[in-house]
């Protein structure tokens, strides 16, 4: 009789203990996940703090003039970010000017024209471009693209467009092979897959009803794309472009091989130049003196701010189109 009275009580105790332990374990697990998520946030904040702290000596020495000074003299310790900033912006612009039309073309092809069985393979092939590491692009750009451009395209451009007044300045100078133009082309190829895949996804969000109605009215495929699909998805399109731009701005290895490493700003697109990341990659390991190192970190800070801004805008735009990117 006594035994049967104990059993229910023990079972209850065991159950209670189990429940309490489960709460503790749950809280522990929750804490782990929260800590991990916070870790990511701390890392980014850490990056910002490290950059600001590292850049401070240079920024306080040169002030805001740092951004508009072209001179870069490690021996006299006079540094200016203008040449790297110029190179970064111009190469990215060239990449966008070439990359956006081609990406749009590919996306239009994949969504409108491509026969169904080919869509997946071609889509995958374009995405493979994204997987190729940037150092491979650098190798290919330096050993294959640059000599080709130097012997064929560049002399042609100099001889023809170089003589046209006004635009001529953009194509003047010697055919170096490497330089802003070559780097821009390599970057264009690198951002292709990013812009293409987002453009294609965004195109696919256009309601079938809208397109069918347009076709029903007798519009041609191109007219549907131009007047219905693109305007409807324009926010997402700009978001995709910004994402590609963010990638192009921060690209290091591909550009370092083919940019020409010159701290002079020249009007010609064929001239050698430098970008922020190429400057850091080339000069950081041998920067003697605190001011030199700090100036390079300051360049890194500028790059971080620019890409942060571009990426933030891209995410905001894409969030408004409910595209998962």
């Amino acid at each position: 009789m006594a035994v049967s009275m104990d059993l229910p009580a023990t079972a209850e105790l065991v159950a209670e203990r189990k429940a309490r332990r489960a709460v503790v374990e749950d809280r522990f697990f929750y804490g782990l996940t929260l800590a991990s998520a916070t870790f990511v946030v701390i890392m980014l904040l850490g990056v910002m703090v490290a950059l600001i702290v590292g850049a401070w000596p240079a920024l306080s020495t040169f002030g805001p003039a740092f951004i508009i000074t072209e001179r870069w003299n490690p021996v006299k310790e006079i540094f200016g970010a203008l040449a790297p900033i110029y190179g970064t912006i111009v190469t990215s612009l060239i990449a966008m000017v070439i990359g956006i039309p081609v990406s749009f073309g590919i996306a239009i092809f994949l969504t409108e024209l491509c026969p169904q069985p080919l869509r997946r393979p071609i889509g995958i092939a374009i995405e493979l471009l994204a997987g190729i590491p940037s150092i491979i692009y650098g190798l290919w750009g330096f050993f294959i693209l640059a000599p080709f451009l130097q012997t064929t395209i560049q002399p042609f451009l100099i001889a023809t467009l170089g003589n046209v007044p006004v635009i001529g300045i953009l194509f003047g100078g010697a055919p170096y092979g490497i330089g802003l133009f070559t780097a821009g082309i390599v970057l264009a190829i690198m951002v292709l897959p990013f812009i293409t895949s987002i453009t294609r996804d965004v195109f696919l969000t256009v309601p079938v009803m809208l397109r069918e109605s347009a076709y029903g009215l007798g519009m041609t495929t191109w007219e549907v794309v131009r007047s219905i699909v693109i305007p409807y998805s324009r926010i997402g399109l700009v978001g995709g472009i910004m994402l590609g731009l963010g990638r192009a701005l921060g690209e290091t290895m591909a550009v370092t091989f083919v940019i020409g490493n010159s701290h002079n700003i020249s009007a010609s697109l064929l001239a050698p130049a430098t970008t922020i990341s190429a400057t850091i990659a080339n000069e950081f390991s041998e920067a003697t003196g605190d001011l030199y190192t700090s100036s390079l970190i300051a360049l890194g800070l500028i790059l971080f701010v620019i890409t942060f801004g571009v990426l933030a805008i891209a995410k905001w735009l894409l969030a408004r189109t409910a595209i998962k990117v």
Binding site: T33, A37, L44, L51, P133, S134, I136, W222
Partner: protein
């Protein structure tokens, strides 16, 4: 009102141009892969996997570089995977809709797309300067920090795909939340999360810039994690920019090895996610 013929003509032109664009894209892909195969193929021999990087003007292999890359990538994955999965878990399971969660997701995506050279600079100030020397640990940390947001993001996406019915069923059975996660949800999203890890490895394999200021390079065989360690990307960079034919050949060989590894990882990842979704 534009004439029908003109509209048809502009249609044909536009669509032809789109086809041209696709051909251009595919052409560059082919050009790069063919170059890699031709020039890198010349260097691939058993020697490349058996000997260390040679001094200029002599022949050799890439053994120490391959080992270094494998070691640092492995360490990076060991570090980034648990944190990435747990962080992704928090952002999907615990913080749905909360402001903090949205901010954390946003910051993760910024870290995901941040220039890798910035990560390298950060780790340099954190793990190289205080210790006074370059090290494989620093290199692994830099690679880990690049892999972390990738794993975090894919975990979020994959966990989001797991139907809520699973979670509700487990709760109805009285399962503690953590057990639900580890025994039910993770198992359901297993192939997706693994895909994420593979993609992170693929991403990290080709990274050069962050290693330039952290692990640097080492021309000899070394397993010392506290010292500079050879790695494929930096070796390729150094060898490619030299005038020595032997070195350049090895650089292309290394480039081919990296690309094949990344493509293989991508294919496996794709196959895995197909298996996962077809279940």
């Amino acid at each position: 009102m534009a004439s029908y013929a003109r509209r048809r003509a502009s249609n044909t032109i536009a669509l032809s141009l789109s086809m041209v664009a696709t051909v251009i894209g595919l052409f560059f892909l082919a050009a790069i892969l063919v170059t890699l195969l031709l020039r890198g193929g010349l260097a691939i021999s058993p020697k490349i996997f058996a000997e260390n990087t040679p001094p200029p003007g002599s022949d050799g292999g890439l053994l120490n570089a391959i080992f270094g890359s494998l070691a640092m990538t492995a360490l990076a994955v060991v570090f980034a995977t648990p944190i990435g999965i747990l962080a992704g878990t928090y952002l999907t399971e615990y913080s749905r809709g909360s402001k903090l969660g949205e901010v954390a997701k946003f910051i993760n995506d910024i870290l995901l797309s941040a220039p890798s050279i910035i990560i390298g600079l950060f780790i340099y100030t954190l793990l190289v300067v205080p210790f006074g020397h370059f090290s494989a640990w620093a290199g692994a940390a830099a690679l880990g920090l690049i892999a972390l947001p990738v794993i975090n993001r894919t975990t979020q996406d994959m966990l989001g795909l797991v139907p809520n019915s699973l979670r509700e069923a487990a709760a109805a059975l009285g399962t503690p939340k953590w057990k639900t996660m580890t025994h039910v949800i993770y198992r359901a999203a297993r192939s997706g999360i693994l895909t994420g890890v593979l993609l992170a490895i693929a991403r990290v394999t080709g990274e050069t810039a962050p290693l330039l200021f952290t692990a640097l390079n080492n021309q000899f065989w070394s397993t010392d994690l506290g010292a500079p360690m050879a790695n494929l990307p930096v070796v390729i960079f150094q060898f490619a920019m030299s005038p020595y034919d032997d070195w350049q050949r090895l650089a292309w060989g290394g480039a081919l090895i990296i690309t094949v590894a990344i493509l293989a990882l991508n294919i496996v990842a794709r196959l895995l996610s197909n298996i996962g979704t077809s279940k």
